[in-house]
């Protein structure tokens, strides 16, 4: 069982984090000045962020075994 490197743990959790805040959550109707998550550009920016995180996994830094998690890593 591979031991967890701090960077790997942070990257996998970042992926889960971005997945959540961008794709999910309530949006209330109303006179919204800006809904950042609906702006196409933020998806480009966040996709770039996500791609760099996922690529780290492809380039031989395998997704880590988190196993039983400790305190929530935010």
């Amino acid at each position: 069982m591979d031991s967890l490197l701090p960077e790997e743990s942070r990257e996998v959790t970042l992926l889960d984090l971005v997945d959540r805040v961008v794709a999910h959550g309530v949006v209330l109707s109303g006179d919204i000045t800006i809904s950042v998550a609906d702006v196409d550009l933020i998806y480009l920016g966040l996709r770039a962020l996500l791609t760099s995180v996922e690529r780290a996994g492809e380039l031989g830094a395998p997704p880590s075994l988190l196993g039983r998690p400790g305190p929530s890593d935010e």
């Binding site: 959540r20 959550g25 209330l28 998550a37 609906d38 395998p62 997704p63 075994l65």
Partner: protein, 292 residues
């Protein structure tokens, strides 16, 4: 935590409808049950959420609306103009900071009470609009808050070593074993045909086994969850990369069942060669916040 609802903190909301100011807007973090006294007023004001929460960020406040409240922060519009956003998008560090601080606030609230997390970057010009939205959706929001009460979201990723699974399939799948036996005594011409059939059948059978593993894991974990949701897998540019992710899913798990949930996830991988189950959390229930 519950101060008089009329107490306003200078800088948080200078009297009612401070957000009427052209340079101000309101960033929404989520919806909670109103922890304070139910207000029957029609004026939108924001009061500090609590000492503990606002110790780090005194600008986090609650806009109460009947039995509900919106967790908000007043923000300068200048931070969210097109130019400002484009600059932020070019800076991966700033983007990551935005994403993390969004979740940090929601996470801090989630520690103390159920919250329907808002999507990243919901910025509202007028508190009254938020208030109206809360009133319109009151029944739905209350029902959803009931559903998520006492629960956390867990993100699960199931990985499989394709080569290992392929080897297992090759030795256990009857028709594939048969092809391999036939190959041993085949003429060169027939061997060529059989090799190609073997490769095709093996790939298909391995795909089938990976799908079956994903389904089995999902069904097993779903039994311990209040709700579950499969997420689409990313398109992999190099499909031969090991290990391959075969399942990505979110589960809404009541805290009492969390230990059993981990046991099932851990033993699913431990009982199978070439399989690994990662999970992260506890997350606030983003995936289960919107109405069904």
């Amino acid at each position: 935590m519950t101060e008089a609802r009329d107490r306003s903190v200078p800088g948080l909301a200078d009297g009612p409808e401070a957000a009427g100011a052209e340079d101000q807007a309101w960033y929404l973090y989520g919806i909670v049950r109103n922890p304070g006294p139910i207000s029957n007023g029609s004026v939108s004001t924001v009061t500090p959420y609590s000492e503990a929460l606002s110790a780090d960020d005194p600008s986090i406040g609650l806009m109460s609306c009947g039995p509900l409240a919106a967790v908000v922060r007043r923000v300068p519009r200048s931070e969210y103009t097109d130019e400002a956003m484009e600059a932020r998008l070019r800076d991966a560090t700033a983007l990551e900071e935005m994403v993390r601080s969004h979740n940090d606030v929601i996470g801090a609230v989630h520690q103390r009470q159920a919250i329907l997390p808002a999507k990243l970057g919901g910025i509202y010009a007028r508190l009254d609009d938020l208030r109206e939205a809360l009133q319109e959706g009151e029944d739905e929001f209350l029902a959803q808050l009931d559903r998520i009460e006492g629960c956390d979201e867990w993100a699960v990723h199931l990985y499989a070593d394709r080569k290992e699974i392929e080897n297992q399939v090759a030795s256990e799948h009857p028709s594939i074993r048969q092809i391999r036996e036939d190959l041993a005594t085949a003429t060169p011409g027939r061997a060529y045909f059989l090799q190609r059939k073997l490769a095709g059948d093996l790939a298909a059978a391995t795909d089938g086994e990976l799908s079956r593993l994903a389904r089995e894991a999902f069904d097993g974990l779903k039994r311990l969850a209040e709700e579950a949701q499969v997420s689409p897998l990313p398109r992999v540019s190099s499909p031969q990369t090991e290990p391959v992710e075969v399942l990505r899913a979110a589960f809404l798990v009541s805290r009492e069942k969390a230990d059993e949930f981990f046991r099932v996830a851990d033993s699913f991988a431990a009982d199978r060669r070439g399989v690994r189950c990662d999970y992260s959390g506890p997350w606030p229930p983003y995936s289960f916040a919107a109405a069904r």
